[in-house]
């Protein structure tokens, strides 16, 4: 095989640079729009043409985290605002009635997202190791069966799952959502991790077995550290799915275990079209996955190229 080693010309370098910048702008534009809108006032947020420069305000965030009621001018005069957030709502002739449910919805997302990610990766690693190393009867059929669960959109089975959950009392529970997202993610986790574990030579475990360790200890001390990259990138993929999942969350959760995705659109109905509050919710919602991905970035990059760089 031969490779071209010609140095790209100046024009080509410029072209490449322009393309990369253009791509970055296109992908980042919605993100910038959401973050910016979160700091706009309601009137700025619907201004046309959109305002690039505006006076930032925390109105959106205050509205996101609170519920408010309209009060008479006399009441407001008698109870002057004590804090900066009370001041913000007072401008609109309102007082803060209490906290909104965004905090608990967000916490639900964290519990369900990270819980199902942990479970998917944990079970996936064990299953992938077994498929990679042991003689499992009907191995190829089982692997195909596991993969086949991803051949339709998960929502295609919404009705049976809805009925099952209602029967089992799993509707609107954290456990139910964790189990559901784990079931959907597990096939991806098993296949991804099997690829990673297949790449780890067996000789290391064999050496550990001879060195006096049991199969499980060899797995923990020798295989796991070397599979860290694969586990990290699998965890990111699982988290992104579970974190962003909308359809099942709408269908199966309402009061108790509702996650952030079905909650954020409902903000819009409270007291007019409050785009800044929606944008503030979306911004906060983006943060955990972003932080998680940046933390595991090094692994992710290696994870995506893994298998391709080896012959």
């Amino acid at each position: 095989m031969s490779y071209s080693i010609t140095e790209p010309s100046r024009a080509q370098k410029w072209m490449a640079g322009i393309l990369v910048v253009a791509y970055a702008v296109i992908t980042l534009l919605p993100l910038i729009w959401i973050i910016a809108t979160g700091f706009k006032s309601p009137s700025d947020s619907i201004a046309y043409p959109p305002k690039l420069f505006f006076t930032p305000t925390l109105e959106g965030y205050v509205n996101l985290f609170t519920t408010r009621t309209r009060q008479t001018a006399e009441f407001l005069a008698a109870n002057p605002p004590q804090t900066w957030y009370q001041e913000i709502v007072a401008k609109y002739g309102m007082v803060i009635a209490g906290p909104s449910r965004f905090g608990e919805r967000f916490l639900n997302s964290v519990i369900i997202g990270f819980g199902s990610t942990f479970l998917s990766v944990f079970l996936g690693t064990l299953a992938a190791y077994a498929f990679s190393r042991f003689k499992v009867p009907l191995k190829d059929d089982l692997l195909f069966f596991i993969l086949s669960t991803r051949m339709m959109p998960p929502i295609a089975v919404a009705i049976p799952i809805f009925l099952m959950f209602r029967q089992l009392g799993l509707s609107d529970t954290h456990l139910g959502m964790i189990l559901l997202y784990t079931a959907v993610n597990l096939s991806l986790a098993v296949w991804l991790l099997k690829g990673f574990i297949d790449e780890i030579p067996r000789e290391y475990e064999e050496a550990a077995l001879i060195d006096g360790y049991t199969r499980f200890q060899a797995f923990r001390k020798v295989v796991l550290p070397q599979a860290a990259t694969g586990i990290a990138s699998t965890a990111i993929f699982c988290l992104i799915f579970a974190w962003n999942e909308y359809a099942f969350a709408v269908l199966l959760t309402s009061g108790n275990a509702q996650t952030a995705p079905p909650f954020i659109p409902t903000i819009i109905g409270v007291g007019g079209q409050d785009w800044p509050a929606v944008a503030a919710g979306a911004t906060l919602f983006l943060l955990p996955v972003m932080v998680f991905t940046i933390l595991l970035r090094k692994h992710l990059l290696r994870g995506i190229t893994f298998g391709a760089v080896r012959k």
């Binding site: 030579p201 000789e203 290391y204 064999e206 050496a207 550990a208 077995l209 001879i210 060195d211 006096g212 360790y213 049991t214 199969r215 200890q217 020798v222 550290p225 070397q226």
Partner: protein, 333 residues
């Protein structure tokens, strides 16, 4: 340290029979070298003794105990792998400590540190102890993998070509060191090599494997001087034994198809003429490539010989070995 006994071991991989009814006893404190071409089943035999693979038939005993169904850890053997198999995520020191920290041993830290220090000293890797195992040269990796076996005091050491990628000086040092460990500690070794010097100098016994069968087992001198077949005869000797048609030098015993001549079985200066095709000066000896009645053969002569290619030298066989058409040895009365 313990005796290893294999009885009737058969191992198949699909249609291939890797080991065919092998029975072998490695006496306590013996140094047994397994010889055979690639694919003869040497590594498979080690893996069956270690417990990494299970035989399809037959029993493995270590120290009189039947360990056929025991796990590798329960068998308490140390193994040096051909591919080194150092733990890539650990340092050299952690690699050497690994077997000592196993739940089997659980040695106190001072004892682990002392053991690792001693072994590192012997293998000349003290200065590399804190390197990552992946940041070593091939020879250093091989030394660490030997060290990982030597830190323990197992029932037996199993080694799969442990010295193959070391330079000549270190190989000579380690040959002596392994022999010393075997001698001083009474350690039992089962050792795979292609190197004839290793086989001749270290082995108390040599086992010759051919297509999964153990064809000969005995002291190295016996294998060399009294081989049972062409295959066994070809395993030892540098340069290799010359195999020629039986009647090339005159009458042969009944049934003989081949005559086998090691260099020392070719008397020079007597007999019939042969043509010197090439002379190789190796320093301590000189090899002669001869042509005799259109057959090529190689022998050894005086280091300071005056012979050169194109010369004529007379040769005759002396106490040759005869083999029948299947390669089996024919013994003469």
């Amino acid at each position: 340290m313990a005796e290893i006994t294999l009885s009737g071991i058969t191992k198949r991989f699909g249609p291939i029979t890797a080991l065919d009814d092998v029975s072998l006893t490695v006496p306590d404190g013996a140094f047994v070298v397994l010889l055979g071409p690639t694919g003869a089943g040497k590594t498979t035999l080690l893996r069956l003794v270690s417990g990494l693979d299970q035989p399809d038939a037959g029993r493995v005993q270590i120290g009189g105990q039947d360990v056929s169904t025991a796990t590798p850890a329960q068998r308490n053997v140390a193994m040096v792998f051909q591919q080194y198999s150092l733990y890539p995520h650990l340092t050299v020191r952690q690699n050497l400590e690994f077997p000592l920290k196993s739940p089997l041993l659980r040695l106190p830290p001072e004892q682990i540190a002392r053991k690792v220090g001693e072994v590192a000293e012997v293998l000349q890797i003290t200065h590399k102890l804190d390197n990552k195992a992946t940041a070593l040269s091939g020879g250093e990796m091989q030394r660490v993998s030997i060290g990982r076996a030597l830190v323990r005091n197992p029932a037996a050491y199993l080694m799969d070509e442990p010295l193959s990628s070391l330079d000549a000086k270190l190989r000579a040092d380690l040959r002596i060191e392994l022999k010393r460990i075997q001698h001083d500690m009474g350690a039992t070794f089962l050792y795979v090599t292609h190197d004839q010097i290793e086989a001749m100098t270290m082995a108390t016994h040599v086992g010759v494997l051919d297509h999964g069968r153990l064809v000969q087992f005995g002291p190295p001198r016996q294998i060399y001087e009294d081989p049972v077949s062409i295959h066994a005869a070809s395993r030892l000797g540098q340069p290799r034994i010359n195999i020629l048609p039986a009647t090339l030098f005159g009458p042969a015993p009944a049934g003989a198809a081949h005559i086998g001549l090691r260099p020392e079985q070719i008397r020079q200066g007597e007999g019939e003429d042969s043509f010197v095709r090439r002379v190789e000066h190796l320093g301590d000896q000189t090899r002669l490539h001869l042509s005799f009645h259109n057959h090529d053969l190689i022998t050894v002569t005086d280091a300071h010989t005056g012979l050169k290619s194109g010369d004529i030298v007379r040769i005759r066989p002396e106490k040759p070995l005869y083999f029948d058409a299947s390669g089996a040895r024919i013994h003469q009365e």
